[in-house]
């Protein structure tokens, strides 16, 4: 047996957790296939919604369908991938309520990776793959004037967006350390953020746009990188380099998430006796 606590030991334990998950989920073939298809359906409908909206209008917030699809592709690929990797943290309220979280804490492994690997939803792979397909299609069909810089951005921006959404999942989940019954409250920012980032921020207005786009940073996930890729100036007047700021914003979000998680765990009091 590998000693827990050492780096290789931990690595082996994580790999065992992941392998057990993969085997148990693939054991029921039909259910697994149904889940794969069903999960993809949710993202498909998000894209279909955009297509339907463009069926009755030529432009949305000053953007054409091809331009909007770049925004949609960035958003759905990033959200689906983050949801696959860390979306399971949504179950934290239940773990806290049922006391399962205590069992996680007493094991000699870090709590966060354990939680994620304990129930990694492999069925969500289909969704991430579909998101990637939409992104690639959008990038190819948008008529982008490719430069080495834009190629780099096309690779870095989706990854930064994944990190951003992952940080968002972790940060919102820590609310349940303080408010166990927070229920679907986290959804308003996670799924709300997905919907928000699926459209150009010019669509929104007032303080709602100010809070979601710049206060919470959603504008840097898909809108500003898309502008930089398309070579369009921001109708709202921010300078062009903002499109390259998404990795920085993602790092800040990750730091906030790490801090929120540490503070949350320290605050955690078991519910059980």
């Amino acid at each position: 047996m590998a000693e827990p606590g050492t780096l290789t030991g931990s690595w082996r334990a994580y790999r065992a957790l992941l392998g057990a998950q993969a085997r148990s989920q693939a054991a029921y073939r039909t259910s697994f296939v149904v889940d794969l298809v069903g999960n993809m359906g949710a993202t498909v409908f998000d894209v279909v919604t955009v297509l339907v909206l463009f069926g009755v209008t030529r432009e949305l917030g000053g953007f054409t369908l091809r331009e909007t699809l770049v925004v949609v592709g960035l958003s759905s690929f990033a959200f689906a991938t983050a949801d696959l990797l860390v979306g399971n943290i949504e179950r934290l309220p239940r773990y806290v309520r049922t006391g399962l979280f205590d069992a996680v804490l007493v094991r000699p492994l870090a709590a966060l990776p354990q939680l994620l690997l304990m129930d990694l939803p492999l069925r969500k792979v289909s969704r991430a793959v579909f998101g990637l397909a939409v992104l690639v299609f959008a990038l190819v069909s948008a008529g982008i004037g490719w430069t080495p810089g834009r190629v780099a951005l096309a690779v870095v921006a989706p990854l930064a967006a994944v990190v951003f959404f992952a940080a968002l999942f972790v940060t919102t989940a820590t609310v349940s350390f303080y408010w166990v019954d927070s229920g679907e409250l986290a959804n308003s920012v996670t799924y709300g953020g997905r919907d928000f980032t699926s459209y150009p921020v010019t669509v929104y207005g007032g303080w709602f746009r100010a809070i979601f786009a710049y206060g919470l940073g959603f504008a840097f996930v898909s809108y500003h990188p898309a502008l930089a890729l398309l070579g369009r100036a921001d109708p709202l007047g921010l300078p062009a380099w903002v499109g390259w700021a998404s990795p920085g914003v993602a790092l800040v979000a990750a730091a906030v998430a790490a801090l929120a998680w540490r503070v949350g765990i320290r605050h955690y009091r078991s519910t059980g006796s």
């Binding site: 919604t49 339907v52 909206l53 009755v56 019954d181 229920g183 679907e184 919907d195």
Partner: protein, 283 residues
């Protein structure tokens, strides 16, 4: 040997008053049961409000400078979105797996021993839940929306009562759909498949993601008449914003009534068939 149903035969005494009293008591208990989850209701309202802002801005952008799209003006879109966010919780379109869980665990056996038909008693509980949701989940977005967006107030005196009737029929129809989806657990061990199909289909086909008027006319008509989904959300909202003239709206509510009756009858049929084959594992 005659066939045996698990459901206890109703009392032969045709006492309608007693039936109504029982039904009313179950409705009231459903109301009280859901009224205890107040924090969850607050969290739900916050989420509905955020999505209200999102959808409203998006649809208004679709309406664009012209200000109208698919027969809705800006104010009508506002009402459609905000009332829709509230109505979503009243019809409880997602997340009900109680019946399927009870079938899987065998707890359904105790439901079948009660002197009230399971469809009736679950319906009564659901009406109580919907009653609480109309106060705690429908009112808040309807009050919040007008602070930030232009909304449409009904002009015809008959619209508010017709809307109330339409919502009631939507609750009945949605309950019946969910009951049927849950009842597949009598035949399948794992109801995730039907449940996923329902969750995916109901939202988009009921008019939650976008008003179905955004679709080509023939497609909207097909959905409206050939599927129960628009009757769950789209029709009550169209009635509220007076998208169609009054006679057409009466016709649409009639259509809802037809779907509700048909689906509830189907629930009873499915329940009877299920009871013939149900084997509860005992110990």
């Amino acid at each position: 040997m005659g066939s045996v149903t698990a459901t206890v035969a109703p009392p032969t005494d045709p006492n309608v008053t007693r039936w109504f009293r029982t039904f009313g008591a179950i409705v009231a208990s459903g109301f009280r049961r859901h009224a205890t989850y107040r924090q969850a209701a607050v969290a739900g309202v916050v989420t509905n409000t955020v999505f209200g802002f999102l959808r409203c801005y998006i649809f208004l952008a679709v309406a664009g400078a012209a200000g109208t799209v698919a027969g809705y003006d800006r104010a009508q879109l506002g009402t459609f979105v905000w009332a829709g966010q509230g109505l979503l919780a009243v019809i409880a379109i997602w997340g009900w797996t109680e019946l399927a869980d009870r079938i899987r665990t065998g707890e359904i056996a105790s439901d079948l021993l009660r002197p009230v038909h399971p469809v009736t008693s679950y319906l009564a509980t659901d009406l109580g839940r919907a009653g609480f949701a109309s106060l705690a989940r429908l009112l808040p977005p309807v009050v919040i929306g007008p602070f930030f967006f232009e909304v449409y107030l009904p002009r015809h005196w008959a619209t508010p009562p017709l809307f109330a009737l339409s919502v009631l029929l939507a609750v009945l129809g949605c309950f019946a759909c969910r009951y049927l989806v849950n009842a597949t657990a009598y035949w399948l061990q794992d109801v995730r498949g039907p449940m996923i199909l329902w969750t995916l289909g109901s939202g988009v086909l009921a008019g939650l993601y976008f008003p179905l008027g955004f679709l080509p006319g023939w497609l909207e008509a097909t959905l409206r008449y050939a599927t129960p989904f628009p009757s769950l959300l789209q029709v009550p909202l169209d009635v509220l914003v007076e998208r169609e003239p009054m006679p057409t709206e009466l016709g649409l509510v009639g259509l809802q009534l037809g779907w509700a009756v048909l689906l509830l009858a189907l629930c009873r049929l499915v329940q009877r068939r299920a009871e013939h084959r149900l084997v509860v594992q005992g110990g």
